[in-house]
Amino acid sequence: MIRFEDVDIAYDGMLAVPGLNITIEEGEFFTLLGPSGCGKTTILRCLAGFVPNSAGRIMVRDRDISRLEAERRGVGIVFQNYALFPHLTVSENVAFGLRASRTGNAEVRQRVGDILERTGIAEHAGKRPSELSGGQQQRVAIARSLVMGPSILLMDEPLSNLDVKLRVAMRNEIKRLQRQLGFTTIYVTHDQEEALSLSDRIAVLNRGRIEQVGAPEAIYDRPETEFVCRFIGEANRLTPTMLGSSGAAINTDTPTFVRPEHVRIGVPPAGHLHLSASVEDAVFLGPLVRYSMKAADGLLDVIVSGAEARLAIGSQHMLHFPAEAVLRPQRTVQ
């Protein structure tokens, strides 16, 4: 169990993360989400012991590790900038930690070979980092941490330079290893799909503060703040006019939203809120198509399956959504 208790983290006196409080359970897959520069990397680095916390305590299994040296925390980390050892080959990079802990030769060879195989870089085992493509480097960084079997593994956007196929494969590999070895993972990603599909729980950060912590569906379906609502997934802000005809029951004093995929096109069933709009723009996203629809009072995004027939630009349609789909986050920030 990892617990941040009122942790402050500062760079040269500038507070990047103020008063952080989170508890992360043993074996959990915990993700930090938040806009660029909000302090995700900073939190990981603090937990790993590279940035000191200027206040508060960091408890791991009820022991305060704030003052422990990084190398004794047993926390593995995959760096955002990889930090590969440039003078070592791929397999030497991966073997580094094992050799440092005096693991027997045969075992090192076996474990390194195994992890290189799993991460798909076995064929580059003899190359130096400078001879690898970006994605290959990233996989070496992952392999280097995984091979140690750490009890806590921090990953800072470990898959950002991989293509979808590989990303999915790596994700599954990480999940599989996590299940097998039971380590706690704290994960930073910009890929929401990744966050939503991998995580047990997600913390959404904004300017160093936590906005909401919860299971993926809770975060997505029941955002507590406007920031979370807008940051995770897409959200159409609803105006009173939009709801005028059918949504009298809805109080629009606090901002209300509806997600584009909840908005349907077609004849509204009874009880659904509805409005009329014309197709302004269509963007092909592969499995999905996003329409920008012009309603009386502004634009609304609508996402439909790519399998459905395309709508012509300018054509007029009825939009509708169930009242339950309306999101009404509290403005207040935790």
């Binding site: 004794r72 926390v75 593995g76 930090a83 050892f85 440039p86 003078h87 580094f96």
Partner: protein, 566 residues
């Protein structure tokens, strides 16, 4: 546009290469060829008499072995001490780091004859430490500080300067996140220093080791002053042979030295070319000092660091103290018994003494400026373009290093004692320009080597990024390469400047009546038997030392600021 069209860029490069080619041919190859031809084809006939004569001499054989042994041991000891110093200065938190920096910087400004006599003040039979020891162990041999051991000892503590300069800069450049990565894999910073940081420093360590190796192969002052009767090194032989007019034999021994150095140089290039020490990181994390947590280790490291401070400071402090002592005290005492300002007054009231200083400042400025321009151009060209031209450039500019200064001087004199086509009909011997030209070649190898090592540490994408933004080669140099190299540029400039300021070996052959340099003036003063000459030359040593130390420390600061490292 056709493929063969010349861009201004290429044109500039071509002109630069031509100028360097002329310099190298005229002032390196041609003079050397002169010496070699005179040596081996005295009457147009190949003659190997010199070689046989040398091979028969047991003195020569012994000096070769001594030289090889001392050089090898020195490289090891200097690296051990130097790396330790760099670690306590930049990597570990050690208290009073500025004091350490000051002490560890002294070899940069206190070397050669001055340093050896400084060490003698402490360790020789009438030295300070020896007197102390004699009180405790009256039976010991007062002449304990002689022979190979003494030479290695003095080498060890006078040759760590390159580490303080270049290894330290390279260390500051290391992407610290690699150390963090090692930590996260359960490796302490101290071990990461050995297993991660040092290997990343290999290029610069090799470059400095080569410098140290060449320094000790060519070492003259230490063996001459400390070697005693039975211990001599090859450079003393070379000097003696040149003094006897046997340049053929001297050339032969120099060739031997050169060949050894060359082999080592090529090996080093090979190691370097395996490369892969450029970090692939998107951005490099700056270095942070780490505290040593283990109390015992920490205490030991601190103790060692301060012992080193004492070793470095003692000879200098005693030299400074003696420069304020009356002559009788200098000759008699282990430590000054009385103090006087007379020597300083004598120096400052003697206007004549400043002539050579002015000459040296002028000569050094000229030579360093030209050498820097040539070296920067060459280093960048060598790094950016592979091929025969670059290889021969690198090789050529390396030669003066393995060539004893004396040989170059002898060659220049024999090549240009009359008018020559290569100098557009000018006779250089006896004129002003021979000395500054030789100075240029004296400092070029260090510059090229060190700038090259520094260039190797810069992410090539940086330069590519500049190109994609349309910046010309010159602009890129001014705004990207130069600032990133600034610390190294500042330091090689300062070091070369200091070296030239007190250069003697080569100057004594090449100066003329209008440019007698400081080094020669100092030697003449030290040799002349007038009253107080010892004291006066000690005053000069102290003044030069202060001046050089200021130059070096200023360069270090300046360079650090320019490159944005705080």
């Amino acid at each position: 546009m056709t493929r063969t069209a010349l861009s201004p860029n290429k044109l500039l490069q071509g002109v630069g290469l031509l100028i360097i080619a002329w310099l190298v041919i005229a002032f390196l190859y041609y003079p050397i060829a002169h010496v070699l031809i005179a040596a081996f084809f005295p009457e147009g006939q190949l003659s190997l008499g010199a070689a046989e004569r040398l091979a028969d001499s047991s003195r020569v054989t012994r000096s070769l072995w001594n030289t090889a042994l001392v050089a090898a041991v020195t490289v090891v000891t200097v690296n051990v001490v130097g790396i330790f110093q760099v670690a306590v200065l930049e990597f570990f938190k050690v208290r009073f780091a500025p004091l350490l920096l000051l002490a560890f910087s002294t070899p940069l400004v206190f070397s050669s004859v001055a340093a050896v006599s400084g060490y003698n003040f402490v360790y020789s039979s009438h030295g300070f430490l020896t007197k102390l020891l004699l009180m405790v162990f009256p039976e010991m041999d007062p002449n304990w500080f002689t022979g190979g051991m003494a030479v290695v000892f003095v080498h060890t503590f006078t040759m760590t300067g390159y580490h303080i300069l270049f290894v330290r800069i390279a260390l500051r450049r290391i992407d610290f996140s690699t150390v963090e990565a090692a930590q996260s894999l359960g490796v302490s910073p101290a071990r990461a220093f050995i297993s991660i940081v040092l290997p990343m420093l290999v290029p610069v360590l090799l470059a400095t080791s080569l410098l140290v190796l060449l320094g000790s192969l060519n070492s003259f002052a230490a063996p001459a002053m400390l070697g005693g009767r039975d211990f001599y090194m090859i450079s003393s032989m070379i000097q003696a042979l040149v003094g006897l007019g046997r340049t053929d034999m001297a050339a032969l021994l120099s060739l031997l030295l050169g060949a050894v150095s060359l082999v080592i140089f090529l090996w080093m290039k090979h190691v370097e070319s395996r490369g892969g020490t450029v970090s692939t990181a998107k951005t490099q994390a700056p270095l942070r000092k780490t505290a040593i947590r283990n109390r015992v280790t920490n205490a030991i490291v601190h103790a060692l660091a301060y012992i080193l401070v004492v070793i470095y400071a003692a000879p200098i402090l005693i030299t400074i103290a003696f420069s304020f002592a009356p002559v009788e005290s200098i000759i008699r005492d282990a430590f000054p018994s009385a103090f006087t300002l007379d020597h300083y007054i004598a120096v400052f009231s003697n206007a004549r003494a400043f002539g050579p200083l002015g000459n040296s400042l002028m000569l050094a400025t000229l030579a360093v400026a030209v050498a820097l321009a040539v070296s920067l151009f060459a280093a960048i060209r060598i790094r950016s373009t592979k091929g025969v031209v670059s290889d021969s450039l690198e090789f050529s500019l390396f030669i003066p290093w393995v060539l004893p200064g004396m040989m170059l001087a002898v060659g220049l004199i024999s090549a240009y004692s009359g008018p020559s086509l290569l100098t557009f009909g000018q006779t250089l011997v006896g004129g002003y320009w021979l000395l500054p030209i030789a100075y240029v070649f004296l400092v070029i190898p260090l510059m090229v080597r060190m700038l090259g090592a520094a260039l190797a540490g810069i992410d090539p994408n940086i330069n590519d990024a500049g190109r994609s933004l349309g910046a010309s080669a010159f602009y890129r140099f001014r705004r990207l390469t130069a600032p990133l190299l600034a610390p190294v540029i500042a330091l090689v400039t300062a070091m070369s400047f200091n070296d030239l300021l007190s250069e003697y070996t080569l100057s004594v052959f090449l100066y003329n009546i209008n440019n007698m340099p400081l080094g020669v003036a100092l030697q003449n003063a030290a040799r002349a038997d007038g009253q107080d000459q010892i004291a006066i030359s000690m005053v000069y040593v102290v003044l030069l030392l202060t001046f050089s130390l200021i130059v070096i420390l200023a360069a270090d600061r300046l360079g650090a600021d320019r490159s944005g490292q705080r």
